[in-house]
Amino acid sequence: MRAYLDAIAAGYPTVSPALVYLIGMLAFGALVVFVFILPVAGITSWVERRVWARIQSRIGPNRVGPGGFLQWLADGLKNLLKEDVIPAAVDVPLFRIAPYVVVAGFVAAFVALPFAGSLIIADLNIGILYISAITSLVVIGILMAGWSSNNKWSMLGGIRSATQIICYEIPVGLSIFPVVLLSGTLSMQGIISAQGWAPTSWHMFHSPFLFVSFLLFFVGALAEGNRTPFDLPEADSELVAGFATEYSGMRSLLFFLAEWGNLYVIGVLVSTLFMGGWQVPHFTDNGVVLAVAQFATMFVKAYFWVFVAMWVRATLPRVRVDQFMTLCWKYMVPIGLVNVVGTATMMVVLPQGSIVLRWIMVAMTAAILVQFARRVFFHLRRANYGRLGRISEGAA
């Protein structure tokens, strides 16, 4: 983004560069926030409901717009018109500030998220460290919301959420280390540049350690995003709505905006760290076409993980508090430490990595995926629901 602004500033020598930078930053920021983040977070809510519906043999929201596509706008409008109830017992300043902190922390993560090779707001040299730090602002917001509500459910939800997010930051950090070891940089674009477009050059398939790291990272990221099976903070069946119990209308929607948007952040992080990010074969010299292809690649990869998160949410039951503690500290942290040492050892023994090992890893993953697809089709045939993809109509 800096390069674009430099070019513009060179075109207007009479205007001071600082002014050009300021206007440019605000313009690009507003573009990302209002044209990208808001629709992506909103549409994710609709996609999520449709995906769950299909998984549960229902139809889901399909009335507003083609296929129910405009449902998210209708929901937003409805929440805009809802009364903003602030109970008498709450701590009003904290209660009002909490959604601001949550949304600001989530939006700020997009500064260092790469969209394509040349499209990134600021390629910070501490990119991944910055992202893992700034997304922790969400904890503070959730704790503020939970405490200030002066409600037993909110209090429990807020504290549980804080515990969960801080616990899972350790395994997430430990699973980022092997990637940083291989890339030798913390910058997001640097990490992507250390990989290639082919699966054999992705960090994920470098060695078994990296593959386990990838699994740890995804599980930990789900836990940090308060997603099922780690949705203890807003466990509907035990805590009403957790930290958001006393929030109504637009205020509660802001929390969920951050949650849905966070799914996309998780997707981008997984594909950046482990799956080669926006890397595409260099098929053309046209910069614009290449940028569009890179953007599409990144978006598809990221959204695939968003889809997997929805799938997990529709499939798995919630864990108990003692189970998430055990999973985090007694399994994920020791495995994460082994991963760091193992990757470092491997880099000393084989500084260039092993292409044979990479091919074996890719082949094994492909075999598992093929076997999984065969199982799915086997059960679909046995279920006798008619044509694939027409399950809801067939079942009716």
Partner: protein
């Protein structure tokens, strides 16, 4: 450099602006009819029992302490893993590797300590209770319960 970090401020501001915009738009459109019953704290429809700002389980505090120790560790390892590749290229890989292993070994000692102390279990048991033997227990048996009612 400053340019990159100025962007963070801009985004934090835009995030807050987004919230303010939505709340402000809503303030023009939404009704506001507060009444006493509506403003009570939600407690499943029954009368509210006391405040929620009370002492809560100490377990959360212990977990936060353990977290702080390990998060400081994570913060210390970040710079080391960043330069590791360069060190391997310079032929000092074995030295760096032994330092990483030493550092992580000390950490593992800490992890083993809190694990053995039982601070990683949600329900901490101070002294392990003897397993009750099936059926009637003999009072003379070691660790057996004395059945008073019998």
């Amino acid at each position: 450099m400053q340019f990159d970090y100025a962007n963070i401020l801009v985004f934090l501001g835009l995030g807050a602006f987004l919230c303010a915009l939505m709340m402000g738009l809503g303030a023009l459109l939404r009704p506001s009819n507060p009444e006493r019953a509506k403003l009570t704290t939600y407690e499943c429809g029954i009368e509210v029992e006391g405040s929620s700002w009370i002492n809560f389980n100490i377990r959360f505090y212990v977990v936060a302490l353990v977290f702080v120790i390990f998060d400081v560790e994570v913060a210390f390892v970040y710079p080391v893993v960043t330069v590791f590749k360069q060190w391997v290229a310079d032929g000092r890989g074995l030295f760096a590797l032994s330092e990483i292993i030493l550092f992580i070994a000390i950490l593992v000692c800490g992890l083993v300590y809190v694990w053995r102390k039982g601070d990683l279990d949600w329900m901490k048991t101070i002294a392990p209770a003897p397993a009750p033997a099936p059926g009637r227990t003999d009072a003379a048996a070691p660790g057996g319960r004395v059945d008073v009612a019998a």
